[in-house]
């Protein structure tokens, strides 16, 4: 799981152009939206692309992703349970 978490953090940093951030700066359980990393709705759509592209998980809308995208840890457990690649 730790490996997956690190991989996700790196993919998020790259896809969302989070300049000057390293995986160590992102707390596994901290909220990604709102106060935490301050991501917005376009970033949520970008997370949907990450899940599709790297793990074969298709989400129809950001609403479906709301619970999943709470934190890096919650994304990791969803990916581990549902990945098809």
């Amino acid at each position: 799981m730790d490996e997956l978490i690190l991989e996700l953090k790196n993919r998020i940093i790259e896809a969302l152009s989070l300049e000057d951030l390293t995986p160590e700066d992102i707390d596994n359980d901290a909220p990604l939206f709102g106060d935490g990393l301050g991501l917005d709705s376009i970033d949520a759509l970008e997370l949907i692309v990450i899940l599709d592209k790297h793990y074969g998980i298709k989400l129809g809308s950001p609403t479906e992703g709301r619970e999943i995208f709470k934190s890096v840890a919650s994304i990791a457990s969803y990916v581990a349970a549902h990945r098809s690649k």
Binding site: S41, I42, D43, L45
Partner: protein, 569 residues
């Protein structure tokens, strides 16, 4: 007075305004389901021309987009006796992505939008430089507002305003990854709406200062554009941006004389909801309203023209357009909608448009002679005084702010990042942006940083930029991401910045600019035309603070921004 002397709608439903009106009044629509459209791994519902229609519109030496524009403009011109070669006419083109289809196909026929407009103007025999309005979905409406201003300012006597966009793999992939496309026919304002459909069309209105003597005409009385300053791809949920435009446009006008309001009504969750709030807050809940994207889909740059033309055509018959796809209201603001045609004896139309980048534009038309006389001739206002507070110039060699060079060591694109870190540093979204947007954001941030102490009224702060190549670098990046079915992962963050007006939305949000924001594309850096557009805007928009200038970035290492921060009193 700015009169409408001819119109055309070129769509999959017909090639003239009359054909379109007669087919849509018979209840037909051009939306169809397409499986794996053009080989994309997507099933869509859209309004697109058939191969036979495309062949019929084709013109030797012109791209599909250009041929569509030519057909639309030529049909409108054929209804008039205008001599457009006289130098007193201007072509104003409204488009979000112009010739992008050629870029997707990798064809050598690709020309940037400004050059395409020039090519079309020359083919029509026009001698004046054309202007392209590129402000996402409000382009078609804002182009009319600009035409009205240019005529009023005496820059020209006639304006041929044409809006057009093609449905292409570029837009389909982009809107699909933004999750705003409805798989089924869209249902504006309905409780079961699932999003929008894309549509392709060209639509033209010819405006003239002269009264056409033979028949009574529609007049464009007034308009207003602003920015809702909320989010680059989601409108303000209260609809306050549209509401301000409605109030400004209707100020002094007897609202009871309105026959109808034609809404933007995309069928998306957010747009329709916020428009309903704006209509209710404006006290227009009882006014018959319509939205016709359930017939044509969202025709992008054409929509502000196409929808206004058909709403006026219906009023000529004493009818209000139907809202196809609407059955039960699914919005919290009260709006009077109907899936059927309704009768009216009034002759004034309010048209609303909203778009990505936060732009809103509202236009008011009338065919009532008395109202036209009373409101179509605004008195002479004194020319505002303009003072340049600060000026910034950025090139790959360095940055000059108010005549002094900023201390930078890098050159080219790296210099932009270096300057951002050193002198701005408060906007992490900078790193998500494409080179064009970074350049524009950096220039504006330096101006505003210098002017931090200036007192401001956000409603009166605006942006007016000129440009040649739009977001061409970002458009190529988006195309790379949709080239193969295996590698088909369009990115929302990349797609959104392929629209060059988006950065103005970011600047508006960052600095609280709620006034008009506009981006014009020219074939070349034509100081005369830039000055006319700027003067006409300053004279009529009520802006008190304006960031304006030229910005161009067609290569990562070759760019230019030359902006001024003006105060107007």
């Amino acid at each position: 007075m700015t009169r409408i002397i001819a119109t055309n709608v070129t769509s999959p439903l017909g090639l003239t305004t009359e054909q379109n009106y007669s087919v849509l009044s018979a209840g037909h629509a051009s939306l169809r389901g397409h499986r794996q459209w053009k080989g994309l791994p997507l099933d869509i519902t859209a309004s697109v021309f058939s191969p036979e229609q495309i062949a019929g519109l084709a013109a030797e030496g012109f791209t599909r987009f250009e041929a569509m524009v030519l057909h639309s403009v030529r049909d409108a011109l054929s209804q008039t006796s205008l001599d457009i070669t006289s130098g007193r006419s201007i072509l104003v083109l409204a488009t979000t992505l112009g010739n992008v289809e050629e870029l997707v196909e990798g064809r050598e026929t690709y020309t940037a939008t400004g050059e395409a407009a020039k090519k079309i103007a020359l083919a029509l025999g026009m001698t004046t430089e054309p202007l392209v309005v590129c402000n996402a979905c409000i382009s078609g409406a804002q182009a009319q507002l600009m035409a009205e201003r240019l005529i009023r300012a005496g820059v020209c006597d006639h304006a041929i305003v044409c809006g057009a966009d093609c449905v292409t793999p570029f837009t389909v992939a982009g809107f699909s990854c933004l999750k705003v496309l409805s798989p089924a026919e869209c249902r504006p304002f309905d409780i079961e709406r699932l999003g929008l459909n894309l549509g392709e069309a060209a639509a033209t209105i010819i405006f003239s200062k002269e009264q056409s003597p033979e028949k009574e005409c529609w007049t464009l009385l007034k308009g207003c554009a602003d920015n809702d300053c909320h989010h680059i791809s989601t409108p303000s949920p209260t609809g306050d941006g549209v509401l301000r435009c409605i109030r400004e446009t209707l100020a002094g006008f007897p609202a009871e004389a309105l026959a109808t309001v034609n809404l933007h009504g995309t069928g998306s969750m957010f747009n329709d909801q916020m428009e309903s709030k704006a209509i209710e807050s404006a006290g227009l809940s009882e006014l018959p309203a319509s939205a016709i994207k359930g017939i044509y889909g969202h025709t992008m740059g054409a929509s502000g023209l196409l929808e206004a033309i058909l709403a006026m055509r219906a009023l000529d018959e004493g009818k209000v357009l139907p809202t196809r796809g609407f059955s039960e209201a699914g919005v919290s603001g009260r709006v009077s909608l109907s899936a059927s045609m309704r009768a009216t004896d009034k002759k004034s139309l309010l048209k609303l448009s909203s778009g990505f980048g936060g732009g809103n534009c509202v236009l008011l038309y009338t065919k009532d002679a008395a109202l036209s006389e009373a409101f179509g001739n605004p008195g002479e206002s004194t020319k505002p005084q303009t003072v340049c507070l600060h000026r910034v110039r950025i090139s790959p060699d360095g940055i000059m702010l108010d005549g002094s060079a900023l201390d930078t060591t890098d050159t080219g694109a790296a210099m932009l990042t270096e300057a951002y870190k050193k002198y701005v540093g408060d906007f992490p979204k900078f790193y998500k942006m494409d080179p064009f947007s970074r350049l524009t954001m950096l220039a504006c941030s330096l101006l505003m940083g210098t002017a931090r102490s200036t007192a401001q009224d956000g409603d009166r702060c605006g942006i007016l930029l000129f440009n040649r190549s739009g977001s061409i670098l970002q458009q190529r990046r988006h195309i790379e991401s949709i080239k193969s079915e295996e590698g088909f992962y369009p990115s929302p963050a990349i797609f959104i910045y392929t629209l060059p007006n988006i950065v103005m939305g970011e600047i508006a949000i960052k600095y609280g600019f709620k006034g008009e924001t506009s981006l014009y594309i020219l074939g070349r850096k034509d100081e005369g035309l830039m000055s006319s557009v700027r003067e006409a805007t300053i004279h009529t928009s009520g802006l008190q603070t304006l960031i304006t200038g030229w910005v161009e970035c067609d290569r990562e290492d070759d760019f230019e921004a030359d902006f001024e921060l003006l105060t107007i009193s």
